[in-house]
């Protein structure tokens, strides 16, 4: 253990909200591109503006919104509702793990604020919050500020995509189709603490590649992440 200043106690401040909103900036391009694509796809699929914004505002989880569009119905039955619920749960199950890592940070927070913070939980916001936490920060306002601004960006870009999707230039030309993976890769750098703590990452990457080759859909993410956590538990 290196000598570290005593960790701050978890707390919440308005300055933290502002700090979090600023820290969220590098995630904007990914959110904008994904939400534009979703808004465009939803309009093409024939969803109303209210349905499209409703999905972005309340479900607020890109991959499951896209998969949801594929099985969207003109006329719903109990069976199709159950199907879309199940598919959504499978795609979003990885969020269970994100929440698990936040628990020590949030445990003294008032319940309504934690509910809001978790309602707005995304991988990008969580990564930014995790980086801040790893650097010794404990202001929960940072997590919430980041989450709130990302939600707003998501909603505005969904709206823009719904009406102006056809006007968006070819995303591939500016490398914008890979903006999310590149952002994630950038966020890997501050997590690096040497080769040994990164061994589980390698396990995660290998397992996700294998699952991706064998199973269609988004299952590779949760399979790889779970493998990494298990590897982390096993490696002393």
């Amino acid at each position: 253990m290196t000598l570290m200043p005593p960790a701050l106690r978890p707390h919440f401040s308005i300055q933290g909200l502002r700090h979090g909103a600023r820290a969220a900036l590098p995630a904007f391009p990914g959110f904008i591109m994904f939400a534009l694509a979703f808004g465009t796809a939803a309009a093409q699929k024939g969803l109303s503006l209210g349905e499209t914004l409703g999905l972005s505002a309340f479900v607020y989880a890109g991959a499951s919104q896209m998969v949801g569009l594929e099985i969207w119905q003109q006329v719903w039955t109990p069976a199709t509702i159950l199907t879309i619920m199940t598919v959504t749960a499978v795609v979003n199950a990885r969020m269970i793990m994100l929440g698990a890592t936040l628990q020590p940070w949030l445990k003294h927070e008032p319940l309504p604020r934690t509910a809001l913070n978790l309602f707005l939980l995304t991988e990008a916001g969580w990564l930014i919050g995790t980086r801040y936490h790893n650097e010794g920060g404990r202001d929960v306002g940072v997590l919430l500020g980041c989450a709130l601004i990302l939600w707003l960006v998501w909603l505005v870009a969904t709206f823009a995509g719904f009406f102006a999707g056809a006007l968006v230039p070819e995303p591939r030309r500016f490398g914008l189709d890979l903006v999310m993976p590149i952002f994630f890769g950038v966020m890997l750098v501050p997590l690096w603490k040497g080769a040994k703590p990164a061994l589980p990452w390698l396990v995660a990457g290998l397992v996700s590649l294998i699952v991706h080759a064998l199973v269609p859909g988004y299952l590779f993410i949760i399979a790889g992440a779970l493998a990494g956590v298990i590897a982390g538990m096993l490696i002393e």
Binding site: W76, I81, I84, T101
Partner: protein, 107 residues
């Protein structure tokens, strides 16, 4: 058809669908916190959770980057190098996107 069936077959169906998706997603979002507040966090569990951020990143991006071939791999490498040197996330991101755009323009 029963009452619920005819209700969701009507205009309220999509509202019910969105509500159902919202409910299960919110349950996923809170489940980790709820479970961990009832579990004693042992050093082993802590080690596992500490491995999660890097694991989830690699699990998410590796298949996507490999599917997109060597331009994506070089762009990702450039982004990581720029971030390691400057420690400024937006610089890393723009370096990666710029590299990808240049390779695709000339490749």
């Amino acid at each position: 058809m029963n009452g619920f069936g005819s209700f969701i077959a009507g205009p309220w169906g999509s509202v019910v669908a969105i509500a159902a998706m919202t409910l299960v997603t919110f349950l996923c979002r809170i489940a980790g916190v709820v479970v961990m507040s009832r579990v004693r966090i042992t050093p082993r569990i802590e080690r596992g959770l500490r491995a999660l951020p890097g694991s989830i990143i690699l699990a998410t991006i590796l298949p996507v980057v490999i599917d997109n071939g060597w331009p994506a791999m070089i762009a990702l490498a450039a982004a990581i190098v720029a971030m390691a040197v400057t420690r400024i996330d937006i610089v890393g991101l723009l370096t990666g996107l710029g590299t990808l755009a240049v390779i695709r323009a000339f490749g």
